[in-house]
């Protein structure tokens, strides 16, 4: 089908372009690893924060994987702004390119990068003593959670990018949404240690859905039913934000 073919070629284009940016590659690899090492040390002596894990690093690893995925997704709309500025999008629009593929390729690209980073983080985690108690299904759940989280936020990010069309506004929007969602989630501390109202609020936070799914897979290696539910929620969120981005793309097309 045309939409998948075009999505494929456009993903290839984006990844190939990124592979030509050595600094981007270095940061993409090093940054999540630094987060895991730094935060892992910071709270390592607070026993109450482990939430049943063997070590704080093990508790933290799924959190950092998800934090990384959703940050990556929230920022991914920057690529759309640069494509708009360079008129690459107009060039595709004047050709019989699949409109949905233009959006979908960006979203898929964000998901692939998040999965790649999740692999790196898990490998570092293993070296630090993290065990994936869910075994192979556990690994797959972690990858699915990070991919879906990144994609859900990439859809949102691209919608905003298409509405504001300016890098500065895009950065402001990503921060405005990103930081609160991080602190309203169980990335750094278990829900039991949260103030009651934050715990309640965190149930509606997509970031938290990813964190809970990944943490079930790594730390407890169980609760598959709940985990599947979280992943389905994330899938629905991804569909919703991708539709939002598509709607914003139509608005862009009408405005030119």
């Amino acid at each position: 089908m045309k939409v998948f073919r075009h999505t494929g070629w456009m993903v290839v284009r984006q990844l190939r372009n990124l592979m030509r940016e050595p600094i981007w590659i270095a940061l993409m690899v090093i940054q999540p690893l630094i987060w895991l090492l730094l935060y892992g040390q910071l709270f390592s002596r607070v026993g109450a924060l482990r939430g049943g894990a063997d070590s704080y690093v093990e508790f933290l690893a799924p959190g950092i994987i998800c934090m990384n995925a959703f940050f990556g997704g929230s920022w991914s709309g920057m690529a759309m702004i640069s494509d708009l500025d360079r008129h690459v999008i107009d060039r595709f629009l004047a050709a019989p390119a699949s409109r949905f593929a233009i959006i979908l390729s960006q979203v898929v690209r964000a998901g692939l990068i998040a999965v790649f980073q999740a692999v790196l983080l898990l490998v570092l985690g293993l070296a630090l003593g993290v065990r994936v108690h869910g075994g192979l299904p556990g690994w797959l759940v972690v990858f699915a959670a990070s991919a879906l989280l990144a994609m859900a936020f990439a859809g949102f990010s691209h919608g905003i990018a298409l509405l504001v069309r300016k890098e500065a506004s895009m950065i402001a929007a990503a921060n405005f949404v990103g930081l609160p969602l991080m602190f309203l989630s169980a990335i750094l501390i278990p829900p039991r240690q949260m103030p009651h109202w934050i715990e309640q609020l965190s149930r509606f936070n997509p970031v938290n859905w990813g964190v809970q799914a990944a943490r079930n897979a790594i730390v407890s290696g169980g609760h598959w039913g709940a985990t599947g539910g979280y992943l389905l929620f994330l899938l629905a969120a991804t569909a919703a934000t991708s539709l939002f981005a598509t709607w914003c793309f139509r608005a862009y097309q009408r405005s030119i």
Partner: protein, 321 residues
């Protein structure tokens, strides 16, 4: 058959009526120029024909298909080279072309051959595998044109193809466009705000002003419609007698559209060679010293002034804002 038919196109952006009833048609295989100052509505017209912009009303057919009802059929038969380059800077010239070919459903050996052929055609064969970020302005423009041609379109839109290029690159691109016009059985619609560019490249031009076509025809026809030549007389040492000088010229039988500006008196006459001696002796007889005289055949500038009553350069400057 006409390759492009445009009927009464209208488009309004918030407070600007960009297109105010644009109509024209372009014959197959022709190079047609839309000429007008910045902000006249040229780009909006081309963007509408390239299916990017939805008109508020009116109709446009490109290669026989309606741009609003069957945009995808139109897209398959056009190449669109936008005013602002659509080159992906981080990709190589070849990658840019391969992707565009794939969007047009080309694949395999046919696509690779076509891409090689185009890189050769636009003189980018050696730079093909370098990232486009390092290309010069002229190279990016030529890559843009190659991107527009990858699927052998029937109609090619060139929106301000030489804007922002240095004179050398512009001259090279003119040769390129002339070669395309001759080689491929291609209809080319180009927009420009350079009068000499339209004059040089286009077989027919339509002059656009404030969202309307004011006149349409071959450049030579338009110019000869104006009949006559423009005579400019520069006077030496005048203090305040300019109006008298202009009136003297005006009183001569054949002179029309007489005006003055600084030490220059301008008049339109049917035949410069015949008129100049009379003008000179008349001015001389009334004590005016003439420093120089020039005659010019009408330019598209004059055509623009004649049909819109406005000066092209002034309008162009105003349109940038």
């Amino acid at each position: 058959m006409d390759a492009i038919v445009v009927e009464e196109l209208r488009k309004r952006y918030k407070d600007v009526q960009a297109l105010d009833g644009v109509s024209f048609s372009v014959r197959e295989g022709e190079v047609f120029g839309l000429l007008g100052p910045n902000g006249a509505g040229k780009s909006t017209t081309v963007r509408t024909l390239a299916t990017l912009t939805q008109p508020d009303s009116g109709r446009a057919l490109v290669a026989g298909e309606d741009v609003v009802r069957h945009p995808n059929r139109v897209r398959s038969s056009i190449g669109y080279v936008a005013q602002d380059s659509g080159v992906d800077w981080e990709a190589t010239g070849r990658e840019n072309l391969m992707l565009q070919g794939r969007i047009h459903a080309l694949a395999g050996a046919r696509l690779r051959t076509r891409v090689d052929e185009l890189l050769e055609l636009v003189g980018l064969a050696e730079a093909a595998d370098r990232v486009a970020r390092g290309y010069s302005g002229g190279m990016k423009r030529r890559l843009d044109i190659a991107i527009g041609l990858v699927h052998r379109p029937r109609v090619l839109f060139l929106d301000e193809p030489t804007t922002g290029l240095d004179p050398e690159a512009r001259a090279a691109l003119w040769v390129e466009v002339e070669r395309l016009a001759a080689q491929e059985s291609l209809t080319i619609l180009l927009t420009t705000h350079y009068l000499e560019e339209a004059d040089r490249l286009a077989e027919r031009v339509a002059i656009v002003s404030r969202g309307k076509i004011v006149v349409e025809g071959a450049p030579d026809e338009l110019k000869s419609d104006l009949r006559g030549e423009l005579v400019t007389v520069e006077l030496a040492d005048v203090d305040g007698g300019m109006e008298d000088a202009a009136q003297l010229v005006q009183s001569l039988a054949d002179a029309s559209e007489v005006g003055f500006d600084g030490r220059l008196v301008r008049a339109r006459v049917p035949n410069g060679a015949q008129a100049i001696p009379t003008i000179l002796s008349t001015l001389d007889g009334h004590g005016f010293q003439v420093a120089s005289v020039t005659t010019a055949r009408p330019s598209l500038d004059d055509v623009y002034l004649h049909y819109t009553g406005r000066d092209f350069a002034t309008e162009d400057e105003a349109g940038k804002r």
